[in-house]
Structures are given as structure tokens and as C-alpha cells.
């Protein structure tokens, strides 16, 4: 049994999830592949969104995969970091906007 929760080599085994539930696994990968095709958004734009979401989800596999994917597309470090800041801004905004809830409650409770 491995001693850590995450192993970089496990990313290569992602496709194996179909082995224990073939139909659902295949449906997932078909859907996943379709999502990243050129559409109303370019594949390049989708890669940057995926990179930002990988960070907000704090998924090490996804960060590994989409850092490589964005590099492959010729996307620059500056563009990659800006995308992550978009994710970080939403994350921190999402925390802070709940401050309004706190303020509402304080206002209700205080005399």
C-alpha cells in the first residue's frame, strides 16, 4: 500500500476507472473529450479555464495535466498565472462576499 495519498504515476492510470464500471467510465471520457473540443470557445480558452479551475479545486493531477496542456499550446507563463489569479480572485471573493451574511446576522442580533 502506498504511503502517500497522491502518486504522480496515478494520473497515467486515470483511464483504468472504466475497468470497474465500463459504461459510466466510457460515458465520462466521451463527455470529457467533447467538452474540450473547439466550440464557441477555442480549445486554447478552455485549456486556460481548466488550468484556473484545477487550482481552485486544488487537484494535483489536474494541475499537472493542464500545466502541460497549456505549455503544449504555446500559452505563456504570464497568461497561465493570470488565469490562476482569476480563479484565486473568485475564491477569495466567494469567501469575502459571505461577510455580508455575517454583517446581516450581526445587525440582526445587536441592539
Amino acid at each position: 500500500m502506498q504511503k502517500t495519498y497522491y502518486d504522480p504515476a496515478d494520473l497515467r492510470k486515470f483511464g483504468k476507472i472504466t475497468e470497474w464500471s465500463e459504461e459510466l467510465g466510457n460515458k465520462f471520457f466521451e463527455y470529457y473529450g467533447k467538452v474540450f473540443e473547439e466550440g464557441a470557445l477555442s480549445a486554447r480558452e478552455k485549456a486556460l479555464i481548466a488550468l484556473a479551475v484545477s487550482h481552485t479545486e486544488q487537484c494535483p493531477y489536474c494541475i499537472d495535466a493542464y500545466t502541460k496542456d497549456t505549455l503544449q499550446r504555446g500559452i505563456t507563463k504570464e497568461e497561465m498565472m493570470e488565469a490562476i489569479h482569476v480563479g484565486a480572485a473568485i475564491k477569495s471573493g466567494a469567501t469575502l462576499v459571505h461577510g455580508v451574511q455575517m454583517m446581516n446576522k450581526v445587525n440582526k442580533l445587536e441592539m
Binding site: 486554447r44 502541460k68 503544449q72 499550446r73 504555446g74 505563456t76
Partner: protein, 351 residues
Amino acid sequence: MAIKSLHKRESQLANSKRQLEILSNGIFQNGELPTFKDKIAESNQFPLKAQKLEILQINVGYMCNQVCEHCHVDAGPDRKEIMTKDTMQQCLEVIKKTGAHTLDLTGGAPEMNPNFRWFVEEAAKAGIKDFIVRSNLTIIRANKKYHDLPEFFKKHNVHVVSSMPHWTRGKTDKQRGDGVFDKSIQALKDLNTVGYGMKDSSLRLDLVYNPSGAFLPSDQASMEKDFKKALLEDFNIHFHNLFAITNLPISRFLDYLIASENYEDYMYALVEAYNPSAVANVMCTNTISVSWDGYLYDCDFNQMLQLTVNSKSKHISDYNEDLLEGRNIVISQHCYGCTAGAGSSCQGTVA
């Protein structure tokens, strides 16, 4: 940035036998990944056979003014292997009688061979349809004696194919050396000025994109779109097509992969991206590569691994197109580089 070639550093990897051992051991020996032979056998494509010769690629020497980190030739200013005029003469005899429609001159920096211009003039007279020179661009700006190369190329209707790893300075200089980007931009402007790369111009200027790291190239068409947009907007530079080429795990790129602990992941990525339909069109099926000393190889990569052709005709002096056609191509695990994704060749993608 590597300062010297692997040969000059007396690195183990300067030895092609050592490179071939690495490519056959480890993950390919313990069965973690299939060998290239087993992989192509799955789709009944083994043995891979040469078809009709279309491209004669001549490497006129390993000397270069640059020392790029990914160079599969291990080229640099310290490499002294240079094709002699006698060997060039033998090549010219072959050019005159070959059925190949494309002559492809490469190096090192081919322009640094002292007989380069003589060879181009003589070869141009042979009237080959597409006459390619693989220029690293910076050579045009390296010394005053090379400044007129764009005019020289134009005079002989040479098709110029030039390396350009990215449209930004940072990524380009990291792979190819400090100052390479600015010199390359100036050289591209010089080529544009004489008509190269302009819309509807018959003076062909194509760029080669190699990834600057341990990852594969993305879609060639979309990369071309990005390159064209950026080079036009930022520098008013025009070119015709972009060839996206995968870095093959040999020589300095193999050295980099091992030193950066990316070798296994890179081989996994190549094998996972294996595309059987790319196998049918790999360049070794229609190319012969000639080394500076006149030996014949299936491709420039096999040349660097010193894997000569599997034929009785092994040298330009006993070149025999009939004997070479139908020969079995010599393969190893580096060949996965040409069959990944949309495939890769000196002319870009193949599938």
C-alpha cells in the same frame, strides 16, 4: 543553457551506443511500455519498409554558431565534422540521377560549411523541384559574410525552413541561447525584405516549432495561427507555414530529459500519443539522410545514433536507389517521436 556540445564535454551520451542502451533498457526492458517494434507489429506495420525516394536530406556538417538545449545533432561551434568538397561532388552525381523531388540541406548551420555556396549553385543547376535549406536564422546576422544570404537564397530559389520555438523572447532564448530571439527577428525581416514569406510569393519561408521542454507539440494549424498573429502584430513579420516537430529523445534532448527527471514521463507521453495512421507516412519511408562523411541513413535521427541503412548500398559513393527502395527501416524507441499525435517529420505533421 548548455555551453558546449556533449562531445566536447565528453559526456556518456555523446556515445550513440549508450543512447541506444538507455532507449532499450528500463521501462522498455521490463515491459512497462511496449517497444516500438511490438507497437507497430500490433497494427501489422512491422517491418517498416522504405518506399519510393522523394527527399534526399544532406547533412553538410555538425558545426553551428548556436548550442541549442534540445539539439538532436549535438551541434555547436566545437564540432568539426564538415562535409568535404569531394563528398559534395559525390552527392551532386546522385542528385543528377535521383528520382527525388526534394533536396534538403541541413546541419549544424549548413551555411558554415566553406563550400556551402558552391554546393547550392551546383545543386540548383540539377533542377530539383523543391530545394530546402534549414537555416537557424541567426547565422544570417552572425557575421558580415553571411548578411547577403537572403539574396543568395533568392537567386537560387531556395526554400528556407527556419527554427523558431516561440513568438516570445523568453521562451526562444531559453531553448536557443541569449540574444537568439532578437537576431532571429532581424533575420526574418531581412528575408521578408527580399520577398521571402510574403503572401503569394514563390519564395517559400516556413518556420519550425519545437516545444521548449518535456512536452509534445500541440495542433500544428492552431499553433501556426498563433505564431502568425503574434509575429505580424509585434514585428510585422510574414511567413508561409509552421511545421510542428516533436523533440526526439536522443542526444542533448535525451540528456535534458534524464537530468530533469522527465525521461519516463516523456516516453509515456510519446507511447500514449502513438498514432498508427502516422506510421504509414513517417519520413523515413520516403527519405534518405546523408551524413557529412557520406554514409546513408533512414533519417537524420538515425544518423546521430549511427544506425546506417539496412542495405548493401551504405555510402553515397555506392548509392543505388533500386537497392535502397524496399529496405527495412532501422528502428528503436526514439521512433515513437515521429508517430505521436499527428505525427512528426522534417516537413511537420504527417497524419
